[in-house]
């Protein structure tokens, strides 16, 4: 199990590096910081096997600019084939730079920060009204919490005790133009969410096993109860040394030289972990 999740994380990172280099686009650091979160969700947390199962768990990537990591996770799970993945950011594709629900496994088109949690709360409320066991997982960034609408949704979910709603905060400490602590400090995030009436957990967001264990441990069986938030302490650009916590990797694409270095580092990490970087062939329900 542990090796599996780490292998999935590495494969997600490798796909992110390969595809962003091929497409010549940025948002790499934001993708790398959520690789472990997506690996954990893929690794058995999300239930339901098909896109049209009404009782499936829903996953909403509210920080839509990191969609490449989601494509990579879907690819790992066999829900986005290689040919489709290779259209990322090319002309005429739905595999675009932000999630497009025209693509089957994408639940919600996002890209404007601060909207995913409201919609997720609506879906969670709908599941309760329908008597459905499905749960809703929404992945936000820490800087996304600058948006007031996030807190409107937070108030609503707590007031209506949407225990089937889980927010995951990718707390990587970076935003487009600087450190979150310099731009608009949202810390202490756990205390703020607790003050809004949520069941709050904090976890090492670079440890997919810890993330999976925490997400599995949440009491989401009842659709009434405190909504849950997992503050995942992540590292922006995680896994590529020169990107880690470096703000310009929010936008910059890689040169060929830096691309080679990134791949080499991921290969080394894979070898160190005794993991193969080959596709996993997993049949789990990815996000």
């Amino acid at each position: 199990m542990a090796d599996d999740l780490r292998k999935t994380s590495l494969n997600i990172r490798r796909t992110v590096i390969e595809q962003s280099f091929r497409a010549g686009v940025g948002h790499i650091g934001s993708c790398l910081s959520i690789a472990d979160v997506l690996a954990a969700l893929s690794g058995g947390v999300l239930r339901g096997n098909s896109d049209d199962d009404p009782d499936r768990d829903r996953f909403i990537l509210s920080k839509g600019h990191a969609v490449l990591a989601l494509y990579a996770a879907l690819h790992e799970a066999g829900r986005l084939d290689t040919a489709e993945l290779n259209t990322y950011c090319t002309d005429g594709t739905a595999v675009s730079g932000h999630p497009d629900h025209a693509l089957g496994p994408i639940e919600l088109s996002t890209g404007s920060l601060g909207q995913g949690l409201s919609v997720g709360a609506g879906v969670a409320l709908g599941a309760r009204l329908n008597g459905s066991p499905s749960r809703v997982f929404v992945l936000l960034s820490d800087a996304e919490c600058n948006e007031g609408a996030v807190w409107e949704a937070a108030m609503f979910a707590a007031h209506h005790r949407l225990g089937n709603l889980v927010a995951i905060i990718d707390a990587n400490g970076q935003q487009a133009l600087g450190r979150t602590s310099d731009v608009l400090d949202m810390e202490p995030l756990p205390e703020r969410w607790r003050a809004f009436g949520w069941d709050v957990h904090e976890v090492d967001g670079s440890d997919p096993d810890a993330l999976a264990a925490q997400l599995e441990a949440l009491d989401t069986a009842q659709s009434t109860g405190e909504p849950h938030v997992v503050v995942a302490r992540t590292t922006f650009g995680k896994g590529v040394s020169y990107m880690e916590s470096q703000v310009h990797w929010h936008y910059w694409p890689m040169s060929e030289e830096l691309y080679e270095q990134a791949i080499s580092e991921l290969d080394d990490a894979g070898a160190a972990a005794g993991a193969s970087a080959s596709a996993s062939g997993s049949q789990r329900n990815s996000p």
Partner: protein
């Protein structure tokens, strides 16, 4: 209008379990009957219009038909991007209900005057825009929208009077005509239809024949009806308690220009931001030339000068 709306909603909800009513903490003495009949399908979201539209989007994704209710300015503008990226982008049956015609909120001042909502909503492809003229047309519109798969903005004026000659007619994508005069067409929707019909009578006394096009179905726009009408009159006047950009006057200009029609268009709407002056609806209409006599003056001036 609001009473007709809630009565219709109750009738529809009686045999449609998917209907849910959301409010941004507004609708005192309007929404209560729904709460009494369907407490499990009523949610006061609080003073949070963005979230109301996000919740509505999520509920619609879960198979519901949410009606999201607030004052028109707040319903249409505070969460505009939620409307765009939610029900419009995802083609979901969310009904956004905005209360108040242009100057309905009279002494409450400019923050409460929706003078651009029709234009803003009309911009979004696939978003229905419906502005009924009276309670009877409101009921007909609610019935016509039942089961409509796309999102819709419904603008409800606060008036309660019946427009003579309209007889509660409403068809999505059609204009409902009152009269058949060939000298001037008067386009109006919502709370301005009454003045438009009054102008038609005054013009008759001047020897001018008018046709009122009640354009309550702003989107889908009644393009064929308008093309036919504007193709047979030399002058069209769009009377609207709305900024002149983006509303019915703009729609008329689009039809005339795109169809190459020989018809002059006057946009009899609001041309300046109403700052520094509020007052009763009637007062504001007069200040902005939104009256039957202003329509008559404009029509007589144009038609006489071209004779």
């Amino acid at each position: 209008m609001r009473r007709a709306f809630i009565d219709s909603l109750l009738e529809l909800a009686a045999h449609d379990d998917s209907i849910v009513l959301l409010t941004g903490d507004l609708g005192y003495t309007v929404v209560e009957p729904f709460l009494e009949c369907h407490p499990d399908r009523f949610f006061n979201i609080g003073v949070a219009e963005q979230n109301m539209l996000g919740i509505a989007t999520g509920l619609a994704q879960s198979g519901y038909t949410p009606f999201a209710y607030s004052i028109a300015t707040f319903a249409s503008m505070r969460g505009y991007e939620f409307i765009r990226n939610g029900p419009v982008l995802h083609e979901l049956p969310v009904r956004i209900v905005g209360v108040g015609d242009g100057f309905d909120y009279g002494p409450n001042g400019p923050t409460h005057y929706p003078l651009e909502d029709i234009g803003l909503m009309r911009l979004q492809p696939g978003l229905g825009v419906v502005a009924p003229a009276d309670p009877e047309q409101t009921r007909a519109a609610m019935e016509a929208l039942a089961g409509h798969p796309g999102p819709t903005y419904i603008k409800l004026g606060k008036g309660a009077g019946t427009v003579p000659g309209l007889d509660g007619r409403f068809r999505l994508g059609r204009a409902e005509l009152i009269g058949d005069g060939d000298d001037v067409a008067i386009l109006a929707c919502g709370g301005m239809v009454g003045a438009a019909v009054e102008a038609k009578s005054l013009l008759a006394a001047e020897g001018l024949g008018a046709t009122v096009a009640v354009t309550a179905s702003v989107s889908p726009a009644p393009l064929e009806d308008l093309a036919e009408l504007l193709g047979r009159v030399p002058l069209a006047i769009a009377l609207e308690a709305h900024y002149v950009t983006g509303g019915l006057g703009s729609l008329a200009c689009e039809v005339v220009a795109e169809r190459g029609l020989d018809c002059r268009v006057i946009r009899q709407g609001v041309r300046v931001v109403p700052r520094g002056e509020s007052g009763s609806m009637q007062h504001m209409w007069e200040r902005h030339d939104l009256t039957a006599s202003a329509v008559v003056d404009a029509a007589v001036s144009v038609l006489n000068s071209s004779r």
